[in-house]
């Protein structure tokens, strides 16, 4: 059954009116035929999966044809905002979901800034895009109306230039009444590490969403209109003030996020001896990339729609207005790690500049930095040589060459074409099979963060089981690194619903902590809350399921107990695991790079630490058991039947 038949069948089932106050429509856009249809997410789906990431996977489950390939235009790209997006402080997020062209498993990436909120204010909760447009297309959304415009004048523009053109052509002011998601030349060139940009730096990054949008020949979605309050079921602003104050009172916000942003993490990771260095061959690096060294280049902080935290550092390297990459947004910790120690670069000015280039070129810095590091290690080991790289020496620490390679990657020129294929470089014949031994990826997705997880076993399990691949944002037990919590077993047990070993190097009960984090973060994505301001991600004091339940009730009138919300989180990963099974994922894919099993850490307090295969396998089985999964990592038959009944058809 082709996509149009699947869409028609689905639309026929969907309600034609909102199911609760504030619910926006799901808009289906056939980019080839330039046709638009609408419906609303059914209540049974909202009660099981909420919105945002949750309802996105419902739509993907119903519309995916896994006999195709990820870039086929009949495989939809789905944007979805959370049920509280645009309404609650720090709930400014939305997800972009599809079948990843980079990894080959589920693609589900998340971004904030202003688009997810502004699209909701135009009455749209989800956008389902399919079909390949006849020419480059731009979708324009204003006052609830959606039109497909000629996007060819914008083809070839990267992020900085496009963001300069759009207000000139459409009017409006960024962050006030104008928002956009867009691809750059990298997306147009189907670069597998390309992102969908959602601002100067914010982006839907993981899994190659830029390539997916480029394959549909969709250049941008521009959203205009005045911000407005939603008509909610009950008053909600008083509780919003409570949430905002809770955010600002939390020490991690006060001491780190509001003043410095995520670069703050570099020093703790470095002191721990867990800094992924030179493609994770080493675990220590210079203190010259500590956040204090960024301070001279940070003129201020910025943030997402109605977020009181403003955790995004701005940067200014120089006062030369002609230097396109002399200023920008960021870097975040991931970029700092992936373009600093991961590539052997030790100058903060170089990392900031490379960050600014990646943001303009529209690249996921996690996958791009990892692809570069992988290539560098292969070059170091003689597995590839200058004959492969077109004469370019891939030397650790050579920032100028990295800069050159970024442009080549975005244009798929020379060796850049190899890098642009990311984790698929062996599959596509660029590298020999032995190169896979050094690829830091799980389920075909490069590691998201710079942290070496051989020390913290909960981190390791999380990276292995995350449904979109080797990514920390789906379930990281960040509080494993906090001694105050580890040294209070009763408090730690309350956090995770049961005992979890105090020692981060222990495997004992870590599955319990990963399970709880995965549930809470899944709900966070379904309500649209920022991960940095969600309970358990860096603080036990941030808003969590209690606050989400209270505000969901106020905003939508839908009542959820905390247990029911927790179940929603489990359901979301359950559906994602069903999708991944359709894409060929088995227990064997819930694993880690060989390096972490076979090579112990060589220096520091945790010298000798690695992941023991037998212990890991046992921990994985325990994780499956408490997650209502079979030994092969899919929902048990009874649960699967429940989910499939809810999903329909």
């Amino acid at each position: 059954m082709g996509i149009r038949d699947r869409v028609a069948r689905l639309v026929a089932e969907l309600p034609t009116e909102p199911q609760f106050p504030t619910q926006g429509a799901t808009v289906f856009v056939d980019l080839e035929r330039r046709e638009v249809q609408r419906g609303y997410t059914p209540l049974r789906v909202v009660r099981t999966l909420l919105a945002g990431r949750g309802a996105n996977v419902f739509y993907l489950h119903r519309l995916l044809d896994e006999s195709l390939d990820p870039l086929h235009p009949d495989v939809p790209l789905i944007f979805g905002s959370g049920v509280l997006t645009g309404i609650v402080p720090s709930a400014a997020r939305g997800n972009a979901t599809s079948w990843s062209p980079e990894s080959g498993v589920i693609m589900d990436s998340n971004a904030g800034d202003y688009f997810p909120s502004f699209i909701r204010m135009n009455g749209v909760d989800h956008l389902v895009l399919y079909g390949r447009a006849g020419q480059w297309t731009l979708i324009h959304v204003k006052e609830g109306r959606l039109e497909l415009l000629d996007g060819s004048p914008y083809a070839g523009l990267d992020n900085i230039d496009l963001r300069e053109r759009i207000p000139q052509d459409f009017g409006g002011t960024w962050t006030r009444d104008l928002a956009m998601v867009n691809i750059t030349r990298a997306g147009e060139n189907l670069v597998l590490t390309s992102a969908i940009m959602a601002g100067p730096k914010a982006c839907y990054a993981r899994g190659g969403p830029g390539a997916k949008m480029g394959a549909l020949k969709l250049k941008a979605i521009v959203v205009q209109g005045q911000t407005r309050d939603f008509e909610t079921a009950q008053p909600y602003k008083g509780y919003n003030r409570t949430i905002a104050q809770k955010l600002l009172d939390t020490s991690v916000v006060k001491h780190a996020l509001k003043s410095t942003g995520t670069p703050f993490l570099y020093k703790p990771s470095r002191l721990l001896g867990a800094m992924g260095t030179k493609n994770n061959q080493e675990t220590t690096w210079t203190d010259r990339l500590d956040a204090d060294h960024i301070t001279p280049y940070r003129p201020g902080m910025a943030g997402c729609f109605r977020c009181p935290v403003n955790c995004r550092p701005l940067n200014a390297l120089n006062a030369d207005s002609a230097d396109k990459y002399g200023r920008g947004d960021g870097p975040e910790y991931v970029t700092l790690g992936k373009f600093g120690p991961n590539l052997g670069i030790d100058r903060i000015e170089s990392v900031i500049r490379l960050n600014n280039i990646c943001n303009d070129l529209g690249l996921d810095t996690a996958s791009t930095g990892s692809a570069l590091a992988w290539a560098m290690e292969l070059f170091q080991r003689g597995i590839i040589a200058r004959t492969h790289t077109g004469g370019i020496d891939l030397a650790w620490g050579d920032a100028a060459t990295v800069e050159q390679l970024l442009f080549m990657l975005a244009r798929r020129e020379g060796f850049g074409d190899v890098l642009a294929d990311s984790t698929r470089a062996v599959e596509r014949g660029h590298y020999p099979p032995e190169a896979l031994k050094y690829r830091m990826a799980v389920k075909g997705l490069m590691q998201s963060d710079p942290h070496d997880a051989r020390i913290l076993k909960a981190f390791a399990l999380g990276l292995a089981v995350a449904t979109r691949g080797m990514d920390h944002l789906r379930n990281r037990v960040t509080l494993e690194i906090n001694a105050r919590i580890n040294d209070d077993p009763a408090f730690k047990a309350r956090l995770y619903g049961g005992p979890v070993s105090a020692a981060p190097t222990s495997y004992e009960d870590k599955e319990r902590a990963v399970r709880v984090c995965e549930d809470v973060y899944g709900v966070g994505d379904a309500v649209g809350m920022c991960r940095f301001t969600t309970k358990l991600f860096n603080s036990p004091s941030l808003p969590g399921l209690d606050e989400f339940a209270a505000q969901i009730a106020n905003v939508t009138g839908l009542e959820f107990s905390v247990d029911e919300l927790s179940r929603v989180g489990l359901n979301i990963t359950g559906v994602e695991r069903l999708l991944n099974r359709r894409l060929g994922v088995t227990r064997a894919h819930d694993t880690l790079p060989d390096r972490w099993f076979d090579e112990p850490i060589t220096v520091g307090a945790y010298k000798g630490e690695r992941i023991d295969r037998a212990e890991f396998d046992a921990m994985l089985s325990r994780f499956y058991a408490i997650s209502n999964l079979t030994e092969d990592g899919v929902p048990t038959p009874a649960w699967r039947a429940e989910l499939e009944s809810m999903l329909g058809a």
Binding site: S269, L271, I481, N482, A502, P504
Partner: protein, 83 residues
């Protein structure tokens, strides 16, 4: 003597360090001394965001029991691990 390095958010003056001359056997005793010197300092440290690093090694558990000897450098490290 034990030297304590302070993050910017805990500094009460211009200096980024305190020196503790009196003998302290553990991190817990060090905190008591600091609290007597700066009332409220101990309470401020009783927050999960703060870790301790001793001579460059960050302590992830059994932190307050960690033994100290003269010459040690203890750094108070605001710690987050997700970003």
């Amino acid at each position: 003597m034990v030297t304590v390095l302070l993050p910017s958010t805990l500094r009460t003056g211009a200096s980024d360090r305190l020196e503790v001359q009196e003998p302290v056997a553990t991190i817990a005793e060090l905190i008591d001394v600091l609290d007597r010197r700066i009332p409220g300092f101990g309470e401020g440290l009783d927050d999960s965001v703060f870790n301790f690093a001793v001579n460059g090694e960050m302590l992830l558990y059994h932190a307050r029991e960690r033994a100290l000897t003269s010459g040690d450098v203890v750094e108070i490290v605001p710690t987050i691990s997700g970003g």
